[in-house]
Symmetry: C2
Subunit: 216 residues, 2 copies
């Protein structure tokens, strides 16, 4: 296993040997959001062949990046989660995501948005500096049937899949692929509302707060 070697004694080489294979980093992306079962991973990566998913999980486990854990009875199901070493890829994934976002352009005809990718996008875009002056605010972001939430408090972001837990969001933002332009700072909050790129439920001013907190 791992026959695809590059023949160099170098940290970057080792990294691409471990997570450079096709689909590997996307599996890590989804596991950064939350531990998942095989089927959840498959749903989040609809185009991955099942044998490739299976192979990658074994490779990532052998590399100490992913752990396979059995859930307590009665379901006795399997969950995959990142080890501490695997979770240390978060900075890399966020940085790569920011860099790649600059080439995003418009969605291709067959491209989808998944909840996990949207959570990672929010984490990528989060600006801790701007958040330091912000007290406590909850957003819910809806793109089609993809719903994610973000809670900023004490300069720290908590983002996850689904509606905001524990408390009602201060602002609900509904949008589409145009959210990319908003996050990229290509249109400001007012313009986005005026042109119908986004619709909000809640105090409109909070959309400007959102664009200040999240910027790709």
């Amino acid at each position: 296993m791992g026959k695809r070697q590059y023949g160099q004694f170098c940290g970057l080489v080792r990294a691409v040997e471990l997570v450079g294979e096709r689909w590997a980093l996307l599996i890590v992306r989804d596991l950064l959001v939350s531990p998942k079962r095989y089927t959840d991973l498959k749903r989040g990566l609809p185009r991955i062949p099942t044998n490739v998913l299976s192979t990658r999980l074994k490779e990532l486990e052998a590399a100490g990046i992913v752990e396979r854990r059995l859930l307590p009875r009665p379901d006795g199901s399997v969950v995959y989660e990142l080890t501490e070493y695997g979770a240390d890829l978060e900075d890399v994934v966020l940085a790569l995501g920011r860099w790649g976002a600059r080439s995003l352009g418009d969605p291709r005809p067959d491209e989808i948005v998944t909840p996990d990718s949207m959570v990672i996008a929010l984490r990528s875009a989060f600006r801790a500096g701007a958040a330091a002056t912000e007290s406590d605010v909850r957003f819910e972001l809806r793109l089609g049937d993809v719903v994610v939430h973000a809670h900023v408090a004490a300069g720290v972001l908590t983002a996850g899949v689904g509606a905001a837990p524990e408390a009602e969001p201060d602002l609900v933002i509904e949008s589409g692929p145009a959210i990319r332009a908003v996050l990229a700072g290509e249109v400001d909050a007012g313009t986005a509302l005026d042109e119908g790129l986004v619709a909000v439920t809640g105090p409109k001013e909070l959309l400007a707060v959102f664009t200040r907190l999240f910027r790709l």
Copy 2:
């Protein structure tokens, strides 16, 4: 070209579509050190098939990551260099290199060290915080016939291939693969000297400075 798509509208997906193919990030690594000709790249990546190198360069050029430039006569040769967008991968490459270095272990039988990978390793390991208190110091690092230099001044690192330019190094460090353990902080400067893991020419105290400035 670029038919290998993942079907998701996501920054990370776009990033791996652009630089996730085999060898791509290693080409970027070497170009981060300096612009290079085709043959230089080939020498720095001895195991890359020439058709793959050629294909990658075209893909990277099409993606706006690499630029092809013709040198002035009389040699009229071609140089590949990173665009600004491509150079923005430096943080990602250094972070990935740091992460992967933790899985380095010992060199495999057929693994080599190249000058460019060593320069990137030094940049990965550089701790700007520790350097802020350091005035001005030049190192030359020799591993077999691989020679690189590092100059730290005003908290800024300048590292490149070959002997230190402009001035004699304050300390010449000769070592082998054991340099990894030193950079990882697994052995301190004194022990490394005592056990013969490294040999120096110059004031021995400067080796402790080196281990403070560079830590993986």
